[in-house]
Amino acid sequence: VFKRFVEIGRVAFISFGPHAGKLVAIVDVIDQNRALVDGPCSGVRRQAMPFKCMQLTDFVLKFPHSARQKCVRLAWEKENINEKWSATRWAKKIEAREKKAKMTDFDRYKVMKAKKMRNRIIKHEMKKLQRMASKKGKKPVKVVKGKKPEKAPKAKKPEKAPAPKAQKAQK
């Protein structure tokens, strides 16, 4: 039923509080509600933190309990947690949410146009397939082709959103 446990070395994501959005490793458990926590590679000082603000991730590091920061850092860098984290869907969702919130009016317009174009392409292909299916009656024509136009426009959307992002960052 439970897959992620609080253990020494468990990497947790801080959901609220002053360090919201950062990753930490659980170094020791203080009592029922708090843990000694350290995030050398994410800018969190070694401190006590309540479990409530932590959300457990899939990553576990190997170091003994109450290990000092240097050991935690070594273990962290050995496992390359930062890269692994940014590759997870969780992190990507967070990033997408942030980007969406930062969208300016112009960006919203561009996204709207991109979505519209993509939907048009998809609809076009669907109609084509439907016509073919209805023409040929009950012949088994598999809907494998439907996936091709979907991927191409899908790549456009995240491109357009980061593209105006990059432009904005450059400005």
């Binding site: 919130a101 930062k102 969208m103 300016t104 009016d105 112009f106 317009y109 561009k110 146009k113």
Partner: protein, 293 residues
């Protein structure tokens, strides 16, 4: 003058009151012999001692009017030199003017007063107003502009017949209103004034470096024209006021002059033209306080 002959060689205590009380400076009409190099010192010595003997400290023997006579002030009346303002005031303005009068037997002209007596005096005098400070007329008010609005910013108009349209900001006019243009070819918004308060400034900017806006586009150029000629006919007054706005050639020329420069820059940015053509609207789940413009 009595002071010329006997230089006051009395006690220094008396000299000081001499300087103070008989302290009229001698006019420069003195004999040239006295205008020597050490003039100032000699002049000071020429003062007469006090003509008002002291009875007790602060109390003189003679009254003000007696002193007036004793000092012969009736002979010594000086006026301050005439200032430029006074000189100007002497030039009396014309009080009357002769105007020609029509009609055969009227004698051709009349002499008319320029400044006439008031034709009405209020029953109660208006009390004098207290001095106030800092109450400036509108023309002297400080005009502010939000930092987010710079030349070339795309603005969203919120009121007026062009509400929801995205528009390019050109400059702020003297009254504080913003000069704005569609451009006309893009969204049918001409050169127009917009109020800063009723506008959302987006972060999208068009580069307007080197764009020259004609200098004659001021507030008076855009102000609405009103006919003011009361013809004493109640029924027709409302008709003669210009209700329809007529497009003049000058407006078209100015529009073309400004827009040609701006359109070139708009075309350089991809999708900007389409953006300016679109209108802004809110829909479900869209909250202006959460949007980043």
């Amino acid at each position: 003058m009595a002071g010329e002959k006997a230089p006051a060689e009395k006690k220094p205590a008396e000299k000081k009151p001499a300087k103070k009380k008989a302290g009229d400076k001698k006019p420069a009409e003195q004999k040239p012999s006295q205008k020597a190099a050490g003039d100032k010192k000699k002049r000071v010595k020429k003062y007469h001692a006090s003509r008002n003997p002291v009875l007790a400290r602060g109390i003189g023997r003679y009254s003000r009017s007696a002193m007036y006579a004793r000092k012969a002030l009736y002979k010594r009346k000086y006026t301050a030199p005439e200032t430029k303002i006074e000189k100007k005031k002497k030039e009396m303005p014309r009080a009357t003017i002769t105007k020609p009068v029509g009609g055969d037997k009227n004698g051709g002209s009349r002499v008319v007063k320029i400044r006439k007596m008031p034709r009405y005096y209020p029953t109660e005098d208006v009390p004098r107003k207290l001095l106030s400070h800092g109450k400036k007329p509108f023309c002297e008010h400080k005009r502010r502009l939000r930092a987010s609005i710079t030349p070339g910013t795309v603005l969203i108009l919120l009121t007026g017949r062009h509400r929801g349209k995205r528009v390019v900001f050109l400059k702020q006019l003297d009254t504080g209103l913003l000069l704005v243009t569609g451009p006309l070819a893009v969204n049918r918004v001409p050169l127009r004034r917009a109020h800063q308060k009723f506008v959302i400034a987006t972060s999208t900017k068009v580069d307007l470096t080197g764009v020259k806006i004609p200098k004659h586009l001021t507030d008076s150029y855009f102000k609405k024209k009103r006919l003011r000629k009361p013809k004493h006919q109640e029924g027709e007054i409302f008709d003669t006021e210009k209700e329809k706005y007529e497009l003049t050639e000058q407006r078209k020329a100015d529009q073309r002059a400004v827009d040609s420069q701006i359109l070139a820059r708009i075309k350089k940015v991809p999708q900007l033209r389409g953006y300016l053509r679109s209108t802004f609207s809110l829909s479900n789940g869209v909250y202006p306080h959460k949007l980043v413009f």
